[in-house]
């Protein structure tokens, strides 16, 4: 297991280096950065002086090396738009996105898995059929449309929930949380519902089909033939086998949630990293865009590694350190 972990960490480092290279290249796509730093009528000497001071006269690989070294220490440079450190900007925005994604992911699991189990166990009931039909809508409707519909119904017509922002937040160290105030919690509801809807329907349909598959296996038939109770067969014998593939997809989708959060944050003016990124794009603020890219990739890598480790917990066949098959 330790060897596996070390291997995964080394692989992850290479992935991050590649992502950093792409992020670094973004600076070059925007033209010569010196142009945007000196006045229009600067002399060549002045320009060279700036170039030298910023290390831009060095070979590109040296510049890349420096970028990586500073990024590894959390230094992503200054935002071009408001001249503040990018790391500070991201740290300010990160809690908002993290809380939104966390709530959306939690909702999709807490609702999706039970609904999936129910529709698998009672596939012919009216409720299960209706859920199947509704989930088709959930999967095919674009999220921004559901977001706008939610605002229309719950904010405009009913006036129950706020249509934008995070409400009041409480600062705990550098983390600002919306979990502790009523307005913060109310503000979370619509965006997290919008964000989780797609995941929820996906998880429900996935759990349903996996569970139905598992219920047809020989070991479930054999469990029935031994007179085990339905409760044990469904929730002990079948569910654990069902969740293994579900965790894979969920891990991949969790990264997707962060990506989709960009849309949700735009619709609800949610002050998270996604909104920051969209602003950065419209202002051509390369350091912020590049850092967002690196940070999101890092989160993806961490999630995927965690999912791989979780497998070993759920599926004993993947625990390579265990005893080998004997004959």
């Amino acid at each position: 297991m330790l060897g596996f972990l070390i291997r995964r960490i080394i692989q992850s480092i290479f992935v991050m280096l590649a992502v950093a290279l792409i992020a670094f290249m973004m600076f070059r796509f925007m033209g010569d950065p010196v142009n945007s730093m000196v006045s229009e009528n600067a002399t060549t000497e002045e320009r060279d002086e700036v170039r030298e001071r910023l290390g831009l006269d060095q070979p590109i690989w040296v510049q890349y090396g420096r970028y990586v070294a500073r990024a590894a220490q959390g230094d992503f440079g200054l935002s071009w738009r408001n001249a503040r450190p990018v790391s500070t900007l991201l740290a300010e925005r990160f809690p908002a996105t993290a809380e939104l994604v966390l709530v959306a992911a939690g909702l999709s699991l807490l609702i999706g898995i039970p609904l999936g189990i129910f529709t698998a166990l009672r596939p012919h009931s009216f409720l299960a059929q209706s859920l199947q039909f509704l989930s088709l809508i959930g999967i095919s409707l674009p999220t921004f449309v559901t977001g706008i519909l939610l605002i229309l119904v719950f904010s405009v017509w009913l006036g129950w929930l706020p249509s934008f922002g995070r409400g009041e937040v409480v600062d705990i160290g550098w983390w600002s949380t919306g979990f502790l105030t009523l307005s913060g919690l109310k503000a979370l509801i619509l965006p997290s519902v919008m964000l989780c809807l797609f995941q929820l329907t996906l998880i429900m349909r996935l759990v349903r089909s996996e569970m139905m598959e598992v219920l047809r296996t020989d070991y479930i038939k054999f469990a029935r033939a031994r007179g085990l109770t339905n409760r044990s067969i469904h929730f002990r014998h079948a569910l654990k086998n069902t969740l293994i593939p579900v965790i894979t997809i969920f891990g991949l989708q969790l990264g997707g949630l962060i990506a989709f959060a960009i849309i949700t944050e735009t619709v609800f003016q949610w002050p998270g990293m996604g909104a920051l990124f969209i602003q950065a794009v419209s202002f051509g603020d390369v350091p912020v865009m590049a850092s967002y890219l690196v940070l999101v990739s890092l989160i993806f890598v961490i999630i995927n590694t965690s999912v791989d480790l979780l497998y070993a917990v759920l599926d004993p066949r993947l625990r390579v350190d265990g005893a080998r098959a004997s004959h």
């Binding site: 007179g227 014998h237 293994i244 599926d315 080998r324």
Partner: protein, 322 residues
């Protein structure tokens, strides 16, 4: 008292092309401690008979006619919950493929202990002792250590031993063994058969041994029932049926077993194929393939006649010695 008797059992599957009877009018009985072999081709209804006895026919299939009586008590009319309490406790089942019969994410011990505790209200520690004891009885070495390992850490033969332990651990009086050796290596098959026979002798459990392997029947069973196209065509003591088959189908089966000695040019075989359930002929289902076919065979279905010790369903043997 007869342990189990199945009387005129018909299992029907309603379908788009009308109702199809997977098995028809099957009657058999088994005494305590007896090993009854059931042979026949794929689709003859052997496994379906087993599934009907343990009450696990896949819907929409259902028992359309007949009764199943276990120790004097009719069980085919019981509720699903009552039937669940009978399965494992009074009728065990051994499945065909040991590689897929065990749950991969639960330890062997978990599966055994849960089965024991479901039926025999014992505290966990005691159930665990029993589980270890059962693993030892089925020939798993170092059972105290192996009980906490997972099925994938066992070989195929060892897994089938675990399956047998699981089927017997709540001490049923009857076990339905559905092709218990078909998925195993030939060398392992003999071990598993020997184990089954030994356990049947030790525990007095009766076994319905479903197989298409005449060799396994010859070695293991006391009596044998031959099935063809959903019906029992011949029943009798193993030695009688194997050495002097009464039904032309059984005769054909026997003739097509390769023997040691001078090899014939061509291994005899029964021409044609068994009719599918929705295309069975009106008379004797074997008539189209029968070398001794008479006019009456394609018109009138022969009934199974004789006693539990020896019976045959064939017009040729209308005067079979009872």
């Amino acid at each position: 008292m007869t342990l189990l008797s199945v009387e005129n059992l018909t299992v029907a599957f309603p379908g788009r092309r009308g109702t199809v009877n997977a098995i028809e009018d099957v009657s058999l009985s088994i005494e305590p401690g007896e090993i009854l072999g059931m042979v026949g081709e794929s689709g003859a209804g052997k496994s379906m008979t087993g599934a009907a006895i343990i009450g696990l026919i896949e819907p929409p299939g259902h028992i359309a006619k007949g009764r199943i009586v276990l120790e004097g008590e009719r069980i085919d009319t019981k509720s699903p919950e009552q039937m669940r309490r009978i399965r494992g406790r009074r009728i065990g089942a051994i499945f065909q493929d040991p590689l897929t019969s065990l749950n991969p994410v639960l330890t062997v011990g978990d599966q055994l202990i849960e089965t024991i505790q479901t039926h025999l209200k014992l505290p966990r520690a005691e159930a665990r002792e029993r589980a270890i004891d059962w693993l030892r009885r089925v020939g798993i070495p170092a059972p105290e250590a192996r009980i906490d390992t997972y099925p994938h850490q066992y070989s195929g033969g060892m897994r089938q031993r675990v399956v047998i332990a699981l089927a017997l651990c709540a001490e049923p009086r009857l076990v339905i063994a559905d092709e218990p050796t078909t998925a195993l290596d030939v060398s392992v098959q003999a071990q598993i058969i020997a184990l089954l026979r030994r356990l049947a002798r030790e525990t007095g459990v009766a076994v319905v041994l479903v197989t298409h392997d005449m060799g396994v029947i010859a070695e293991t069973a006391d009596r044998v029932a031959v099935m063809y196209a959903g019906r029992i065509v011949e029943v009798g003591a193993v030695a009688d049926v194997l050495n002097a088959p009464n039904h032309p189908y059984t005769e054909g089966l026997m003739a097509s077993i390769p023997r040691i000695g001078p090899r014939p040019e061509i291994l005899p075989q029964i021409e044609g194929a068994m009719p599918r359930p929705h295309a069975r002929p009106p008379g004797c289902a074997f008539a189209p393939r029968c070398p001794n076919r008479m006019d009456v065979c394609s018109e009138q279905r022969p009934e199974l006649e004789g006693s539990a010790a020896a019976a045959v369903a064939c017009h040729l043997k209308a005067e079979v010695p009872a």
